[in-house]
């Protein structure tokens, strides 16, 4: 087990290294520079001084070596658009915002998704199943930006039920979290439903029933537990995805998170931000994936780690 985790971590570090290298050269290959928009307001002396100060006048190979050796020591440099502010600091302020919102969305997705899926699989009324399937079809096909916008306009502006700006109170979380959670809700409810239907047909379920266990025990102890396996497999990457933030949702609800940061750093050629955010989110993805594999192995005795 420990050996397995160690191996995965080493592989993860190697992956990160490759990711950082590719991102470095690709971001430098983009035409333009962080100062391109300002050239007509600044003097050439100033631009030269800026390029010198931030090392952009050096050969690209040298820039790469400098960057990597600094990065290994945890120094990811200063933002090139907010000069003087270390990118570490920017990530440290925007990441908690995204994580808080992401976790809320994950909880909503799991609770609502599993709830709907269970209801659809077990209800004796056909319409329940139809309604759930209808919701999940909409949820899978509706792009999140459209859903978020509709939610904002209808619930926020037209009905005035919920605040639309920022994350100041718990109420503020509802719309952005649901916007993020819509797609996973649909996926989870479908997964739960189909897997639960499958499980209910299994022999051990018949056995449990014939033993005279109450239907509550059967569903929660035997059926749901086993039906959760595909959901958990899905949940790993989903949680990772939620933690990386969404540009659309963060922009629309004016949330100062990391998703917005990532996209804007690319369009402003903020090289140090691009690098730091990529490495950081990459590391997060890798760790969460390892965690989800471990959790899977604990729940499903058929999976053996270390192969």
């Amino acid at each position: 087990m420990v050996k397995y985790i160690g191996k995965r971590l080493l592989l993860g570090i190697f992956t990160l290294f490759i990711l950082a290298t590719i991102t470095f050269f690709m971001s430098k290959a983009m035409p333009g520079s962080p100062f391109a928009g300002d050239t007509q307001r600044m003097s050439q002396d100033q631009l030269d001084a800026l390029n010198e100060k931030y090392g952009l006048d050096r050969p690209i190979g040298e820039q790469y070596v400098t960057y990597m050796s600094n990065a290994i020591h945890g120094d990811f440099g200063e933002s090139l658009t907010r000069r003087g502010t270390p990118v570490n600091e920017i990530i440290a302020t925007s990441m908690p915002v995204t994580v808080k919102l992401g976790l809320t969305a994950v909880v909503i997705a799991l609770v609502v998704g599993i709830g709907l899926g269970t209801a659809a699989a077990l209800s004796k009324h056909k319409w329940v199943n139809n309604v759930v399937m209808f919701i999940s079809t909409i949820g899978v096909s509706l792009p999140s930006f459209l859903f978020a916008l509709l939610l904002l306009l209808f619930v926020g502006v037209y009905l005035r039920l919920l605040p639309t700006v920022g994350l100041d109170t718990p109420l503020h979380y509802i719309m952005p979290a649901f916007s993020l959670a819509l797609y996973p809700i649909s996926m989870i409810s479908r997964l739960t439903r189909s897997s639960l239907i499958e499980v209910m047909k299994q022999d051990y379920m018949v056995l449990a029933k014939s033993k005279g266990s109450s239907s509550k025990t059967i569903i929660f102890k035997h059926a749901l537990k086993n039906a959760m396996l595909p959901v958990i497999t899905y949940a790993g990457p989903m949680i990772a995805f939620m933690m990386t933030g969404s540009f659309i949702v963060e922009s629309l609800f004016s949330i100062p998170g990391i998703g917005r940061e990532f996209v804007s750093s690319i369009s402003t050629r903020d090289y140090s931000m691009i690098m730091a955010v990529t490495i950081f989110l990459g590391a997060l993805m890798i760790v969460l994936n390892i965690l989800s594999d471990i959790v899977n192995a604990f729940i499903d005795p058929r999976i053996k780690l270390g192969d």
Binding site: Q40, Q46, I114
Partner: protein, 539 residues
Amino acid sequence: MKKLCLFAVSALMMATALTGCGSDSKDSSKPKTAMTVAIGGDVKDLDPAKASDSISNNVLVEMYEGLFEYDKNGNLKNQLCDSYTVSDDGLVYTFKLKDAKWSDGKAITAGDFEYGIKRSATYGADAYYGHFIYDSVVGAYDLFKANASVADASNMGVKALDDKTLEIRLTARTPYFLNVLTSGVFYPAREDYAKEKESTWANKKGYPTNGPFVLDYYSAKDKVVLKKNKNYRQAKKVNLKELTFKVMSDQQAQLSAFKTGEVDLATSVPSDVATDDAYKNTLFTIDPFVINYFVTVNATGSNEALHDVRVRKALMKSVDRKSILKVLNGGKLQYELFGFIPKGIPDTKGDFRTNADKEDKYAAEDLEEAKKLLKEAGYDTKNPLKLTYKYNANQMHTDVAQVLKENWKKIGVEVELQTNETQAFFDARDNGDFELARHAMSADYMDPTAYLDMYKSIAQKTAVVNDADYDALLAQANEEADPAKRMEILHAAEKLLVADQAYVIPLFGYSDPMLLQEGISGIESNPAGHYVLAFVKVK
């Protein structure tokens, strides 16, 4: 698993319980002495020596006063300057300061100005408008080049003669010098707070400022909250106790928040609100706002057709500005621009653009003349002129490009539209890698040279305009001591740039629509794009 489910359910229940008690934070309970402004981007910097973008500068004008600020028409009005004298050669400026205090009660002295200016001059590469100092003040350029510190600046031409008298010496006559004094790099600074070459102090509350407000909270990507400065010299006139700038990068988000009342002033909203009757009573705009939208012509590039003044003039005279404005649908916020300088830049008397237009609309449409010129240059249907027009992808720029293409088709010029991603576009334009390209500039200071200097041959990274006559006119204007005569020379320079040579093709000027809740009055705006909220009244 059971535990996980239990946790999930209890977390959701907790969330719903919490939301139940969150509802009383609605805007109805907001005190009338507070105001929230939605801004379209991050507040990058609150150090006046360093701030580069209009958003940060708009926050800074609420926190600081310099020697001068612009009035509604772009003319200078005194802030902390009580009176001033200029030596006959235009090289020595002496300012007498008003009695005023910092927010912590200390008197503002000429020494604070001396330190502030020296600090900006030695801040280094990141002092965005530092060139306002290096370009004109004695000794400043050398300090900048040597990356010196304030202690090295004893010979720099900035000196506090006594507590209330400041002297600034220039290397050469700089007729627009008083204008650049409005910039943050010339603000006074407190040596005990504003450290050299470093700005982190500016992002944490607790330091004194000298304007209507002091900093209370700063988070670059979220919001900035300012509190009233009780020691401000006009504190009696300041009604607001709290002013919040909320970062909202999405225009639709600003519009929604304006409708729900969560923001009082939305500064970046979809442009169609300008012509939407639903916003008739809440539309707010800075009028005039100084910006010009134009086509820059590469007159020295690889396509030699554009080296021919007849071709350039034909392109200029075939533009139908009304058709562009019609497509953009900006209503009264947009106007046809016939010269390079937009409305809002003062002349000796009145407005520079308005005065010039009265004489001659330089770039006015004349299709027959355009066709004639193009024929003279050797182009017709058999040998059509083919050009490319570059712009960065965005709805407005695309609309303009398509109308231009149609316009130029009328005289038989085939224009291929090329769109680029924004930074790549700027890069191409800087490097002269274009034939025709879109351009727009807001002014850094309210003088015609803020625009005209752009096309001096030495001011361009790649000189797409390289005209000795033009350079000579601008140099001559700088030497001219009589302001009226100087303006005449600048009018001549503009005429050369547009009417005679068509190096640039002006299209339109505009002002962005904003939305202001009814019942709020007293915003003082100026053509530089500042909207000062200090004296606002909220009903």
